[in-house]
């Protein structure tokens, strides 16, 4: 599957383009973020809080043009995301700069 990160997190992880991950089913937000942080440990704490695991307040998740920011982390993502046809988008909320 693919994950699209915001600019600053791509720089932090020293990657270009989408992140390619292998995530075994069920492909949930939690499973994707676990895999992402395993391969890119410098991202730990930048997308979800270390202690609570909650999404950081100024980040949003989008899948197949739908807002998944408030979805359960254990809900299965759309098949197009799991199959890598569409990327999971992680975006910085527009709240200044």
């Amino acid at each position: 599957m693919r994950v699209a990160l915001p600019y600053h997190l791509r720089n932090l992880a020293r990657i270009e383009g989408d992140v390619l991950l292998v995530v075994t089913a069920p492909v949930t937000l939690r499973a994707v973020l676990d895999a992402l942080e395993t391969h890119y440990p410098m991202l730990r704490g930048t997308i979800r809080d270390y202690g609570t695991g909650q999404r950081r307040a100024f980040l949003r998740f989008f899948a197949c043009a739908e807002d998944w920011s408030l979805a359960s982390p254990d809900a299965e993502l759309p098949e197009a995301i799991a199959a890598g046809k569409e990327p999971l988008l992680i975006l910085g909320a527009i709240a200044g700069g």
């Binding site: 915001p6 600019y7 600053h8 997190l9 720089n11 932090l12 020293r14 990657i15 942080e37 395993t38 391969h39 890119y40 440990p41 410098m42 730990r44 704490g45 930048t46 997308i47 809080d49 270390y50 202690g51 950081r56 100024f58 980040l59 910085g92 909320a93 709240a95 200044g96």
Partner: protein, 390 residues
């Protein structure tokens, strides 16, 4: 051959400015961590190649960066320093600042409107490396607490005796947040430290951080009705001379203050300053009675009086001040100089440095008599520290 390295933290990245001992020709490297707020960078006195940086973002949280080669390359402590780490579970949870609630339960602190508000970690304001061990570094954070790492910044443990002092519910945020912004280590007594918090005040430990004493007698703050209030003062910064650690100089919200007894008592030394509001204060490297401040017009107008940027120097430990203006803007200057944005080097002819919210970093190679800009157009400067290499 001596040289200096000026570490500049800005709203949008870090910069390293280097020069030889003449301090006339400068090389600028950076931005490092472009786009991130760098609240503070500071080098270890035990190993000048070791530098710590606080990298923070309202979006992505708090990171600590470390350089082991004098600022050329950086990495997050505890993580592999290659492009893509090997697969498998991460070795550690790096850069995590978790309050030690087992030792001291989280209380609440006073919010701007006087109500109580939960304690929440936001960012690291200040990093203070140990004077003797490059792997030991202290972190002052918002909401106010003191942390320490003894493994080069990989793992951080709170020194909970400060936050758990018992006066926490009286602490309140200043305009910039409730940050622990000043950490001073006593070179003659490893058990003694001073810290300061906006707006709680100054504290001292004499047992290595286990217990803390408020040291605010003599401070007066117009927004605190009790003239003898022990807690709640908006201390902006504190500085000492290394050889005389019992003598403290403080730039408070208003008032420049001095203590000759390790903070037990304070007296005002604002003297003939045109305004005693300001943020930065520092002490000459070789003259313990020579100190520097940058007067700012008021707490409502954070810029120099009449648009003239001036450093003021006292050679008498306060009260008698002289303006230093050669090389600084004479008109139309409306920048601020923040609390951690002034530093001195230790060359024979003491150098003084400060950065502005307009992105200028000024240097004086003659103790303040003459100034020149090293750079003019950086992002807003949050912090300036200097390393002297002999």
């Amino acid at each position: 051959m001596s040289s200096v390295r000026v570490l500049v933290g800005t709203r949008k990245g870090a910069f390293v400015l280097t020069s030889d001992g003449k301090r006339k020709d400068w090389q600028v490297s950076g931005p490092f961590f472009a786009g991130w707020e760098i609240y503070h960078m500071k080098g270890s006195e035990a190993d000048s190649n070791r530098i710590y940086a606080s990298q923070t973002s309202g979006w992505f949280g708090q990171l600590i960066q470390r350089s082991d080669d004098g600022g050329k390359t950086w990495h997050q402590p505890g993580l592999p320093n290659e492009a893509i780490p090997p697969p498998g579970p991460p070795a550690a949870l790096p850069n995590r600042f978790a309050y030690d609630t087992a030792a001291k339960p989280l209380t609440t602190h006073q919010w701007y409107d006087g109500t109580q508000h939960p304690w929440e970690f936001k960012r690291v304001w200040h990093l203070e490396p140990s004077l003797t061990d490059p792997d030991t570094v202290y972190g002052g954070v918002e909401d106010a607490a003191l942390f320490r790492s003894t493994d080069g910044g990989e793992n951080w443990q709170e020194l909970p005796g400060l936050r758990g002092h018992g006066t926490g519910p009286q602490w309140q945020p200043g305009a910039g947040g409730m940050g622990l912004h000043t950490i001073i280590l006593d070179a003659t007594n490893p058990k003694r430290m001073y810290i300061a918090i906006s707006a709680a005040g100054a504290f001292r430990t004499d047992d290595g951080g286990a217990t803390w004493k408020p040291i605010n007698k003599g401070l007066r703050s117009q927004y605190i009705p009790d003239p003898n209030a022990e807690i709640g003062h908006c201390v902006h910064h504190v500085a000492i001379h290394r050889a005389r650690p019992d003598v403290l100089f403080m730039q408070k919200h208003w008032d420049v203050m001095r203590s000759d007894d390790a903070g037990e008592h304070w007296r005002e030394v604002s003297g003939n300053l045109p305004t005693d509001f300001g943020f930065a204060i520092d002490v000459h490297a070789h003259e313990p009675e020579t100190l520097y401040v940058v007067p700012i017009k008021s707490d409502s107008e954070h810029f120099p009086i009449e648009g003239k940027l001036r450093v003021y120097r006292s050679r008498t430990g306060g009260n008698e001040w002289e303006p230093l203006a050669k090389g600084l803007p004479e008109k139309d200057c409306y920048v601020n100089v923040l609390r951690d944005a002034m530093a001195v080097d230790t060359l024979d002819q003491c150098g003084v440095y400060f950065g502005t919210t307009g992105g200028q970093v000024y240097a004086s190679a003659d103790a303040g008599d003459n100034w020149m800009p090293i750079v003019r157009d950086l992002p807003a400067v949050l912090s300036v520290e200097v390393q002297t290499m002999n």
